[in-house]
Symmetry: C2
Subunit: 452 residues, 2 copies
């Protein structure tokens, strides 16, 4: 079941007035999902919710009133769960009808039954505590921004900024699933082993090169059996293709300790420089909401090698395998907050600047038979653009600290200091279509715990 | 609660006669845990079990008869679960009493009550199908054998076989948890992207360099909260120390496609060259069973740098942070099976040849605050010794195929062929102590699935 994609659909408005305010970014056409604890919760259990305007619609309380009974007992039970995994296990076919029911009943002027049924289950977003939307079994981080790869490569290998495999392989690695945290969780400055400049022997102490990475994560809605790769072109193969396995997108901050990472990463890749925490935003924006913002990816040129057949998107797919999502990083220091200054924007990038699409990442990930599981998280890697001001981490912006930035307070930053809050935002906007917000992904640096 | 560690304890025998046969290796003092489906199962559900002689003692059916009621409802319920995770969540204190109860009742000549209670719940091991003993949330693979690191380094970097960080950092990376499989599962030859020799452009096809890796895995029984590192010396810190967090050890085969791995691994480490499958053995041998086999690790010399304080074992710990476990790899080809030939031994190593202990791996892993979760799996990395005949993978034995081995059938192997079965075994033996088997970890190579 698909939603009508004509202009009339995208112009429809909701009786929830704040949903029609583009500045809010949670329109009738967006309806992102989340997990949250209601303010009046007796047991502190988290509920599934849908964002609409300035509210969360409580799916748990709606389901317990029988609202979703038409969708069968499995979906009804899945919507009572604290996270989205059980809904995914109901299958691809369960996603659309649920969305359509809510869309109809949130629509302005159809009838008053929907409003009377839904309105009691709206909770102001500002009153809730968000939780992780998925129990993530496996988290994979890619490296799909060629601008990021080139900028970082230039710092470490001036003679060969891009490795020979980059334009052939969607490079990725397994991240740490256990240390994924929800936006708003404080980030303790990690200690670790690294070599201070000019020293031969390493030391163990709190990182002095703490960084963020601006990324977008894709949650897997439909997995695959071990040994059964997912083809990039599902239509040609008669199965659900790679990108269609994605339930939705979120913002993700892959916090990184650059000194720890630099010392540890050879030969097996990043480990403790990353695994102390990875933050995700509360909202999962489903793929249908992003439909008007599909574009071709930017960076690939005719001079680049053609992807091998298992990664080759047919022309119709290539025209829309990227997403025009504006991504921003904002920083707020303790001093800025003390002076009631607004956070300062450090960069603005765009998800369409990736070299590899999410479909290509998933086709590659499973090409050896590796199984993806519902709720698995696939991240883009740092999203950087080609221009100054579009780089997604401090490592690139300050050239590993060599060119620190000056903030409006006069403060200087090579890397993050204790008390700094990093705020990632993402949104889509286009004339004639609703503005779609991905919400925020926040984290404040807490002082290190000192020696063990 | 601890078990008596005097000689009398280690000499005690069981009324299960095959438990007293050293060749079997499942003595009264071993009692490894597993998950299995009984032969007469109506629902196909897996039960927890304990190995004793040639039998599995069915903990599920014992618990449902009330045998464990003295240990409280949590432990009783945990022993009805299909895997060991719930038992871990009952806490460290729940492990010992369960073991002690079984030990007492399996002991020869104490009284006949134990025998009459337990005997109906013994199932011959040959009749059961084993399942994964833990639901593994996070799987980390280390690189703790210095001999392996040197042998592999020599193949890829003749001028610098050991990287500068090796003797300071227990190098590791996040592995793929979803593709862990139980011993006996067929291993489909993965396809992947790699550059055939002499070519500039890569191709996508079935790997031609399929390899095994002989490893030992440690299951985490007690995790830590995010942000709270686990100290190596728990006694000094007044908490449960790093190695004490381990519930038990198993054999592990980290199947590797060397051509895929070589092309993909820079700069983020191994990914699809490993993630198609990792096999684990059915048995989890708990740490108390291994007590007589504790030894100092071999390779560290006085010339090596002293570990940084967070990795430094006090002298009493250093004397016993290694394990004298003999590890062997056997190969059986289709042709060998057709001629009823026994598998041929490819190598014999010893777990004490590691440079880093499991305690050091865990202290390092959590030193940045990364949280371990009950059921997480920490693997040693390929266990290789310093001598020919003790290398734990074909990459080392055949020098990446340059020196293929000749089998008794006249067959030649540079890497694994379809139909080859790899059998890892592990055991401890010492005069005056029971022989402890880690069982077997088997896998047979199935032909590749062909193009996607």
């Amino acid at each position: 079941m698909t939603l009508p994609s004509d202009q009339q659909y995208w112009n429809q408005q909701s009786w929830v007035e704040s949903a029609n305010d583009p500045a809010v970014g949670f329109s009738l056409q967006s309806l992102p999902l989340c997990s949250f604890v209601p303010p009046d919760s007796a047991d502190g259990a988290s509920h599934l919710g849908v964002g609409i305007g300035e509210f969360v619609l409580d799916l748990h309380s709606l389901s317990s009133k029988g609202y979703f009974s038409r969708l069968g007992p499995d979906v009804e039970a899945a919507l009572l769960a604290p996270q989205l995994n059980p809904l995914m296990r109901c299958g691809y076919g369960a996603w659309g009808p649920r969305r359509l029911m809510l869309s109809m009943d949130l629509l302005k002027g159809i009838d008053s039954r929907g409003r009377s049924e839904l309105e009691p289950h709206l909770v102001p977003q500002r009153d809730v505590r968000f939780c992780s939307p998925f129990a993530v079994g496996n988290y994979t981080d890619f490296y799909s921004s060629i601008h990021h790869a080139e900028n970082v490569g230039r710092l470490f290998r001036p003679d060969q900024s891009l490795l020979p495999n980059y334009k052939w392989v969607p490079v990725g690695y397994h991240g740490r699933a256990s240390s994924l945290v929800i936006s708003g969780t404080g980030i303790r400055r990690p200690s670790g082993q690294f070599r201070p400049p000019g020293q031969d022997a390493p030391e163990f102490k709190p990182t002095t090169q703490l960084d963020y990475e601006l990324e977008v994560g894709a949650y897997i809605g439909v997995g695959n059996a071990l040994g059964e790769p997912i083809p990039i072109d599902g239509i040609a193969a008669g199965v659900l293709g790679a990108e269609s396995r994605i339930f939705g997108l979120s913002l993700l901050n892959d916090w990184s300790a650059r000194d720890i990472q630099a010392w540890e990463y050879q030969p097996l890749g990043p480990f403790l420089g990353k695994s102390f925490a990875t933050s995700v935003s509360p909202w999962v924006v489903t793929m249908d909401a992003l439909d008007p913002y599909r574009v071709p990816l930017n960076p690939r040129t005719a001079a680049d090698p053609k992807p091998l057949p298992y990664l080759a998107e047919p022309a119709w797919m290539e025209r829309k395998s990227g997403f025009e999502i504006k991504l921003e990083v904002h920083l707020s220091t303790t001093q800025m907050r003390a002076s009631s200054m607004a956070p300062v924007r450090l960069s603005r990038g765009n998800l369409r600047e990736l070299y590899w699409s999410f479909g290509q990442m998933i086709a590659h990930h499973t090409s050896n038979g590796c199984n993806l599981v519902e709720g698995d998280l696939i991240a883009s890697g740092t999203v950087s653009g080609p221009r100054d001001g579009s780089q997604g981490c401090l490592l690139e912006i300050t050239r590993r600290g060599a060119s620190p930035i000056r903030l409006p307070t006069g403060e200087v930053r090579a890397f993050l200091e204790d008390g700094d809050e990093v705020i990632l935002t993402g949104f889509c906007e286009r004339d004639g279509f609703p503005r779609i917000s991905l919400g925020e992904c926040r984290g404040t640096i807490l002082p290190g715990a000192g020696p063990i």
